[in-house]
Amino acid sequence: MSEEFKIEIISPDKSVYSGQTNNAVLPCFEGQVTILKDHIPLITFLRPGLIEIGNNEKYYVEDGTVEFSENNLLILSSTVQSLQNIKTENINNMLKNAEKDLSDNQLTDKQKYILDYKIEVLKQINQ
């Protein structure tokens, strides 16, 4: 029996990715989650990070919602970008903005947490 399940990434403008895969790694709000076939139904949201589908497809997200049910993985995100198409200068810009935002003292803990991750991930991509 196949160990694959269906995965779909949808942004408000279009369907970004749709296909079958063995496993997917998601940067969930409370930590990284790897989804395999027959995972229990799950709803959660994402923090900035990388979605890894199988071994080759990688996507950068800043936020989003995930639903897994009946071997359908659904990722809704307005900020999803394929890692192949993302440009270095864009990353640098985003990094700069994030660092600027972080220097603001009025942030809540949650906002800081998210920004920290964003900077970390962007640096990691940049390497």
Partner: protein, 292 residues
């Protein structure tokens, strides 16, 4: 009876109008295809998001603890109406049908003694509504320079609405837009977005899976509901864009056909008066020859 020269000029002018309307029709048809694709691409996101919210709400048994965006703030006094129209005219009854629907709602709201606040999106709608309801308009937005409306713009409006809601500026929010059914039919629609409207019968549909939530339902809902507002607005935008082009295409098609009819009629008139003048000249010549 207009002279031959006048008729000739009129035929020429109608023909050039026809050329313009024909060109507009072609442009609208090309844009329609793209807008329609966008509207269709946008649908899954909003549908899936609604589904997730639906699943979440089922697991919240205690309505009183639900977030304000979902269950409302318990009041029913101030209505915020967001009227989404186009920035350009010449698209048949597109703008006026939204405004007509919106105005009938405004009337109802005011007659029931409620307070009314209006945000207009798109300059055409603003022009039509300000004549009667200018004192209720609290904000107007227009994205004339933008070729393509994306999530960013919708989010901008969504955030503004949520900010107003959190500051207790209104209790219920309605959006007005045209739903794209097909090229000929667009249905003006009023939709309640705050509090999030959930159909009763769907709410009680059997749910086979019980979800695991991470962190917990309330927190996810708090994250999702503001997003849902923006997504609903984006959906309205996309539907509207497709409707606008569809409506313009039909209107311009009619205009082209009417211009063609008019040209035919004028041509017949022109030919008749040309013949009449020839006959007249002949009679003059013949009667002149006879009298000799």
């Amino acid at each position: 009876m207009p002279s031959l020269d006048d008729l000739k000029k009129r035929i020429k002018s109608v023909k050039s109008t026809q050329k313009i309307t024909k060109a507009m029709k072609m442009v609208a048809a090309a844009k329609l295809k793209k807008a329609q694709e966008n509207a269709e691409k946008g649908r899954p996101y909003s549908e899936k998001l609604q589904n997730i919210i639906l699943n979440l709400t089922k697991s919240i048994s205690d309505d009183t603890n639900a977030p304000k965006l979902l269950s409302g703030n318990g009041k029913d006094k101030v209505y915020l109406c967001v009227v989404i129209t186009a920035d350009r005219g010449l698209c048949g009854g597109f703008n006026s049908s939204i405004c007509k629907l919106a105005k009938s709602h405004f009337k109802n709201i005011l007659e029931n003694g409620k307070e009314l606040k209006i945000i207009t999106v798109g300059s055409k709608g603003h022009d039509q509504i300000k004549t009667e309801y200018s004192k209720y308009i609290i904000d107007k937005k227009s994205f004339k320079e933008k070729k393509q409306i994306s999530f960013k713009e919708a989010n901008e409006i969504g955030k503004k609405i949520i900010e107003l809601y959190e500051n207790d500026q209104f209790d219920k929010c309605l959006i007005f837009y045209n739903n794209f059914k097909n090229v000929i039919t667009q249905i003006p629609k009023a939709e309640q977005i705050i509090p999030t409207f959930i159909k009763k019968e769907e709410k009680f549909k059997d749910n086979l899976f019980s979800y695991e939530f991470e962190p917990d339902e309330d927190e996810i809902l708090e994250d999702l509901l503001p997003k849902n507002v923006s997504v609903q607005i984006l959906k309205a935008f996309l539907e509207n864009a497709a409707s606008e082009q569809g409506s313009r295409m039909t209107a311009m098609d009619n205009a082209t056909r009417n211009a063609g009819d008019l040209v035919d009629k004028l041509t017949i008139n022109y030919n008749r008066s040309r013949q009449a003048s020839i006959t007249k000249e002949l009679i003059e010549i013949i009667s002149g020859a006879e009298s000799l």
